[in-house]
Symmetry: C2
Subunit: 221 residues, 2 copies
DNA sequence: TAGGATTTGTGCGTATGTATT
DNA sequence: TAATACATACGCACAAATCCT
């Protein structure tokens, strides 16, 4: 997925969003594993800008805790220690539950269709497990879940927390059994689709809450 | 509180934090009411820096939703519409409750002393009500409450939400009866101090939760 | 220990967008 | 409609900090 050229006619805000999202994805898919040094000049060259707009994107990533810059040293992708991860997972779990109670959206045929498409993607993944594809599906499914509440503040907070811990999860996948994890995740997708079929977003939220809790327990082991 | 000169020997990170916190306070204490245009050059001059570090602070404030910059127009302090405020308050209420359940700190004599100092400040305020002093006390008390959980992610999320809605509250104070509001707040301070006396941070969190809920109802009226 | 190489931080001139006359 | 004023966005050159030899 080369991004070597700029996007002519692109607004400054849109470009910031684009650079930020691309870099965040790379960090959370472990293209840039924790400890990686990101250099401003090469990145700016890749995106076809000068350092200034790139630094604006890095600034946001630093405020989100994904990188850390140090004068004279460089920009380093952060790691997350186990204790902080536990606290963050706790909060993620609670926020997932809130999504079912605070301003759930009306369930439309489109939402139901999307839920079933996730099941299809999960089944395909179960046939040929792949860590990166797993991570991508997990990320897409997170965004699907976030879209089930109309509470924008809740969505924003959940997203911040998700991206704060996503790479820890992917890093640990290699320690766990990939096939098992895929099967467990497929179960979550199927349960969620069933809940959405019944227009029951509270149930969908509780399912997610339960799986976040169990996932954190497996990571801790 | 003039901040007209730089702070020699200050780290870049420390300065960013300082500029950000000062500007955030001014926005939330309505020194810069919604709609105010902040100009980079005068602000940079006031803080004794060039525009570059100042813009770094403005970038963070924009990511937090407190200001909005538009190329060729200026940097404008945002307002919050009633609908968004309701959603944000809902979430703040829930997070306040979580603070009592997720990793509450151990209650120390220092914490108890601080709780009672808030009661004293509240009583002083009740004798001579003043909107700005009220807002300042409210802000300080928020930080006290946030410090009652060890869950850093929870603290961070709560802080973001607090500063997102704080100015709406202060703006509405003029519509409400200042004396009434001060008395209600004093009650919250006293109840909280009693809960802290009993080492019961769950109770303290529930009290806060209840008051956030009631405050939002009064604002909506 | 010293000095050079490398990296991020800063300051400023200019480009670009917007509103007003 | 065009011109002018003024704001933020950008790019570059240089300063400052750190690391390695």
């Amino acid at each position: 997925m080369p991004v070597s050229e700029g996007n002519p006619g692109e607004d400054a805000r849109a470009r910031l969003q684009r650079l930020h999202d691309i870099l965040r994805s790379r960090i959370c898919l472990l293209d840039y594993p924790p400890g990686t040094r990101l250099s401003e000049e090469p990145l700016a060259a890749e995106f076809g800008t000068s350092r200034t707009p790139l630094r604006r994107a890095l600034a946001r990533l630093e405020d989100e805790g994904l990188i850390q810059t140090q004068h004279g040293v460089g920009t380093i992708v952060t790691d997350v220690d186990l204790a902080e991860m536990g606290r963050t997972y706790e909060l993620r779990r609670e926020l997932a539950g809130l999504a079912g109670r605070l301003s759930p959206v009306a369930v439309t045929p489109d939402i139901i269709a999307r839920a079933h498409r996730f099941v299809a993607r999960g089944r395909a993944l179960a046939r040929t497990p792949d860590p990166r594809e797993f991570a991508r599906l997990n990320m897409d499914f997170f965004h699907f879940g976030a879209a089930l509440t109309e509470n924008e503040a809740l969505r924003e907070a959940s997203e911040r927390l998700y991206y704060r811990t996503a790479r820890i999860w992917l890093k640990s996948i290699s320690r766990l059994d990939l096939g098992d994890e895929v099967r467990i995740f497929l179960t979550e997708l199927e349960q969620t689709a069933a809940a959405v079929d019944g227009h029951d977003l509270l149930a969908a939220a509780l399912i997610r809450q339960a799986h976040i809790s169990m996932c954190e327990a497996r990571l801790r082991a």
